[in-house]
């Protein structure tokens, strides 16, 4: 009986250890897998041409990612421009000013916002944001736009990354010791001065981490962007132009026409680039956040 229990324990320990290692290595597996699939195109074209050429003609064997990279950067940039000030102001309010009642009311709402599927955001974008831009914002700027534009994608993405930035930065603000606030208030500083000179300064690395996590979420978001960005493979020049971000490129084309030489390799190179950028951003911000967390415990 005792031997049986021991044996079970030893066996399960081994099995669980192997499961843990395997699942921790999934990330490595994905990187290696994408790299192997992207290698044919990396081997046959110079990297500079792939990244900076504007010619995207798969049938002629021309794979210039520049319009798509610029599309991604524009869309992400607009989303960050809208989302960062709003979500930081809101997280300062929630962590430093709001009463417990308001906090209890708002925080589940933000969780719900985080849970809405991206395709529903896309539907909302088509229903509300796209017509708004077409009928009101574009005429205001004295140009024509179908509404399917960088601005539309940026607005939808901004709403999608609110919860990411808010949740992380509220945690970060909470990690600032109350003694610091008390000291500042006791010196006669107002609440806002305390926030500005003490809390924000102390929390700055964490706030950066929160923003970077938000950026990386926006960077890889696919469906909502695919639905409202317009998907025109040209380098955009204004926020009212359509764009064709990398994730949308993959979603629209992968799985079809894989008989064209190098085409699937090119699309997986796009996935690989996306993966590397997101990985870099995530590793950076996680390192910062882990240090903050260690400080608390």
């Amino acid at each position: 009986m005792a031997v049986n229990r021991r044996l079970k324990d030893v066996l399960s320990r081994r099995a669980m250890f192997i499961l843990t290692i395997l699942s921790a290595l999934v990330i490595v597996l994905i990187i290696v897998g994408l790299y192997l699939k992207a290698r044919p195109i990396l081997g046959s074209k110079p990297l500079g041409e792939l990244l900076f050429s504007t010619r995207w003609r798969p049938l002629k064997g021309q794979f210039g990612f520049f319009p798509f990279i610029m599309g991604t950067l524009w869309v992400t940039g607009v989303a960050v421009f809208i989302a960062v000030p709003l979500s930081l102001l809101s997280s300062v309010y929630l962590s430093e000013y709001a009463s417990t009642r308001i906090r209890r009311l708002v925080s589940p709402l933000i969780d719900i916002l985080a849970g809405i599927p991206s395709v529903v955001y896309g539907v909302w974008g088509i229903l509300v944001v796209v017509p708004l831009i077409k009928d009101h914002i574009a005429p205001l700027a004295k140009t024509f736009s179908t509404g399917y534009s960088i601005l539309a994608a940026g607005i939808v993405l901004a709403i999608m990354i609110f919860p990411v930035i808010i949740n992380v930065s509220v945690e970060v603000f909470r990690s600032v010791p109350d003694e610091l606030r008390d000291a500042s208030l006791a010196l006669g500083a107002t609440r806002w001065q305390t926030v500005k000179r003490v809390v924000l300064r102390k929390a700055l690395p964490g706030v950066i981490a929160a923003v970077v996590l938000g950026i990386s979420r926006a960077f890889g978001e696919t469906m909502a962007v695919l639905m409202v960005a317009g998907n025109v493979a040209r380098v955009p020049h204004s926020v009212l132009d359509p764009a064709y971000p990398l994730p949308a490129l993959i979603a629209n084309n992968y799985g079809e026409m894989l008989t064209i030489p190098l085409y699937d390799s090119a699309l997986l190179l796009a996935a690989f680039i996306l993966m590397l950028v997101v990985l870099l951003f995530n590793v950076l911000s996680r390192l910062i956040l882990n240090r903050i967390e260690r400080g608390i415990r």
Binding site: K8, D9, M16, S23, V26, L34, G115, I116, V195, A271
Partner: protein, 282 residues
């Protein structure tokens, strides 16, 4: 002195304003999806599969997508639980601390940030390698890859909160680690574990980019793991691409159905963590 007061007020207004904008954007989204979706919603939508000419605005419903999504997300959740629970327990009961645990947590955190389109592309690459076709099984595996890190981290957070004394008491009674894991720790953390499972399920059922290449799409309810399966997010996406208003209206109704499912899951998760928290030893 007065300038400070003005600055204080000014920023307070900005902060409250920002919070109002964020909260109202959520309410706006929910209300608009409801208003647009409700008129097109009827019993046939949720009880019938597409009939001939459905995508031209004729009879039928999206039962294929609803059931397909439940199969996909359900299968993926099941698969993830089988993987995540042992891993989360291993990290907390067996390994407890050290570089290995830190590395694993870090790896799962980073994996949580990987965009779902990357999982989709990776999934299809694997399928092409194995010469598999788009199927329920391939979709389940891809979604499982997407949601298991989320599930592990959520379970890990709650299992970490189990008081050390409980584990020590169990050890002192001569229990093996395995017995401690499943009879003490997992039971103590059960509400949190269930919440983690539901969160992962919600993420799985709403994701489109991961099943776009891997699960395929069909008008039929899949009767085998090797058949393609429809899913709600893709049903919304495809119907919205139609030039016909009847079909577009159905897309809005489908979006409403998906939103209701997601909200229900989130409510149940909340209810579970409240309800069962009473039975947990503090």
């Amino acid at each position: 002195m007065d300038r400070r007061r003005v600055e204080e007020k000014f920023f307070l207004v900005l902060m409250v304003g920002a919070t109002v904008v964020i909260v109202s954007s959520l309410i706006l989204i929910l209300v608009q999806v409801l208003l647009k979706g409700l008129p097109a919603l009827n019993l046939a939508m949720i009880t019938q599969t597409p009939k001939g000419g459905f995508y031209l605005g004729k009879e039928g419903g999206i039962l294929n997508a609803i059931v397909g999504s439940l199969y996909l997300a359900g299968g993926a959740t099941l698969l993830s639980v089988l993987l995540s629970l042992p891993v989360a327990l291993y990290l907390n009961v067996y390994a407890r601390s050290g570089t290995f645990v830190t590395f694993c947590r870090f790896s799962f955190d980073v994996l949580c940030g990987v965009p779902s389109i990357v999982f989709g592309a990776f999934g299809l690459a694997i399928m092409l390698f194995l010469k598999m076709r788009a199927s329920l099984l391939a979709g389940i595996i891809t979604i499982a890859l997407l949601i298991f890190p989320i599930m592990i981290r959520a379970m890990d957070e709650v299992i970490r909160m189990v008081p050390r004394e409980l584990v020590d008491a169990s050890d002192a009674l001569g229990a093996t680690r395995l017995e401690t894991s499943f009879r003490v720790v997992a039971r103590q953390a059960l509400p949190g574990i269930l919440t983690a499972v539901l969160i992962a399920f919600g993420r799985g059922i709403g994701d489109a980019a991961s099943v776009l290449f891997t699960a395929g799409f069909t008008d039929y309810i899949p009767d085998s793991l090797l058949r393609p399966a429809a899913s709600l997010p893709l049903a919304i996406f495809f119907q919205l691409g139609s030039p016909l208003n009847e079909v577009k209206d159905r897309a809005y109704a489908s979006a409403l159905i998906l939103t209701i499912i997601i909200l229900a899951i989130s409510l149940i998760a909340r209810w579970i963590s409240k309800k069962f928290a009473a039975h947990v030893i503090k």
